[in-house]
């Protein structure tokens, strides 16, 4: 049961993009179309699976002082392998679209974050499942975000025009600012839903650490929180 949880937590409960807020750079940069988001997600999943597996195996002998550089070397090795594989076998259009972003998976926070927070403390099976789940959650989110941006900017999904009369491109959603706006709206919706659910169940809603706004006093959300206690 706990093995299943390791796998499924990445899909929604600890979704890397929407809850942990990691890997925002590829999330904003490559999701201009559903195909690109999907390709980036699959590549990252491959890297996550490999790096989590290897890091969980070597974690016992890696000196604490140099663990980060060692993890980065392991991750970089997998990224290079994925890069070469895509060069050889992926459709040329996908490789040209993603080419510049693939090497950047090395510095994707999700990969290093999972290595440090999960793989270095758990066994290979659980780590592999965690990597796979996190990767799938990342892929799903990126694909949906890409589809939404593609639809809003040109009325198509996966390069298939859904609204045939739509001829001019609306540039905002396909550019970086549009991605920020859309991700912000999705995050707000997700947090509102979690908040409502918590209130209904009579719990206190504690926002995920990455989203906690109590240290900021621009708005008064923190006061409401205090009074609920």
């Amino acid at each position: 049961m706990s093995l299943l949880k390791d796998f499924t937590k990445g899909l929604w409960k600890e979704n890397p993009v929407l809850v942990l807020l990691l890997g925002t750079c590829p999330t904003l940069a490559v999701t201009s179309s559903a195909t690109n988001g999907f390709g980036m997600g699959v590549a990252t999943t491959g890297v996550l699976l490999g790096s989590n597996l290897v890091i969980s195996l070597i974690a016992g002998i890696v000196p604490k002082k140099v663990r980060i550089p060692v993890y980065i070397v392991v991750i970089a090795t997998f990224v290079t392998i994925i890069d070469l594989l895509m060069k050889a076998y992926a459709p040329p259009a996908l490789y040209t679209a993603l080419g510049i972003f693939i090497p950047l998976i090395v510095v994707n926070c999700i990969v290093l974050g999972r290595a440090e927070a999960f793989a270095s403390k758990n066994g290979p099976v659980r780590s592999a499942l965690d990597g796979l789940g996190m990767g799938l959650g990342f892929t799903l989110t990126l694909t949906m975000l890409g589809a939404a941006r593609e639809f809003l900017s040109s009325g198509s999904v996966f390069e298939v025009k859904v609204i045939t009369g739509w001829t001019t491109d609306f540039l905002l959603p396909s550019a970086a600012p549009g991605a920020f706006i859309l991700v912000g709206l999705i995050l707000a919706a997700k947090n509102y839903a979690s908040y409502r659910k918590a209130v209904k169940e009579g719990r206190l809603y504690i926002p995920p650490k990455g989203l906690d706004c109590r240290h900021c006093n621009i708005c008064t959300a923190h006061i409401d929180d205090e009074s609920e206690k």
Binding site: G60, V62, P63, K65, V73, I81, T96, K161, V162, L171
Partner: protein
């Protein structure tokens, strides 16, 4: 474990070196394995592109080539006659070089422009580089036509020639070439590159044709 809590910097350095060595060796072996498939994929892509912009040919244009001023000319030969040429050159776009492959008639008229390699922003600069058939939900399962997919920006060059009275600049700069909003820099680069290649061909036409015409043919 002792190794885990060591603070001896020589051991730490050695550990890093060993990890680096292992991953380096692994990658060396792996890149050797995929070297051939990558080459094959690249050749397949160039041949596919050449077939799209040239009339039917029976030689191997990517091997019959001749270089002038950094521009590579490839000849398409059929029955011992030079029927058309493909020219390939690169220019700096918005994000790195944009490499174009241009099909030319033997008199310097442009057959078609194709962008072979680019790193432009997807959705913006890349729009003027990609040739793609438009898919809609209504023709999703229809058979797609063979050949060159349309791209309004690249298609306007078809039939143009440096001899004709065309100002080789985008309209924003006072020229005759339509450009695409959001992709002005890329449009400029492709326009200048096309101009450069046709000019280069006209300036060296005799020499290029002589070099690419197969021996014994006319």
């Amino acid at each position: 474990m002792k190794l885990k809590n060591t603070e001896n910097f020589i051991v730490l350095g050695l550990f890093l070196a060993v990890i680096g060595l292992i991953s380096g060796l692994l990658l060396a072996v792996f890149s050797g394995v995929v070297k051939e498939p990558i080459k094959a994929a690249e050749l397949r892509n160039t041949n596919k592109a050449l077939e799209q912009i040239l009339p039917p040919f029976d030689n191997q244009p990517s091997q019959d080539k001749f270089e002038v001023d950094g521009i590579t000319f490839m000849g398409a030969v059929r029955d011992g006659k030079l029927v058309a040429l493909a020219a390939s050159g690169a220019k700096k776009g918005y994000a790195g070089p944009v490499q174009a492959l241009i099909g030319l008639e033997t008199d310097g008229k442009i057959r078609a422009v194709l962008i072979a390699k680019q790193n432009e922003t997807p959705g913006l600069g890349a729009n003027v580089c990609e040739r793609k058939f438009k898919k809609t939900i209504f023709n999703l399962f229809e058979k797609r036509p063979e050949g060159l997919a349309p791209n309004p920006f690249l298609d306007q060059f078809g039939g143009m020639s440096a001899q004709k009275d065309v100002t080789w600049k985008v309209k924003k700069d006072g020229g005759d070439i339509e450009y695409v909003t959001g992709a002005t820099v890329t449009s400029r680069a492709i326009t200048a590159l096309t101009d450069e290649i046709t000019q280069c061909f006209l300036a060296n036409r005799g020499e290029i044709i002589a070099k690419l015409t197969p021996a014994g043919g006319k």
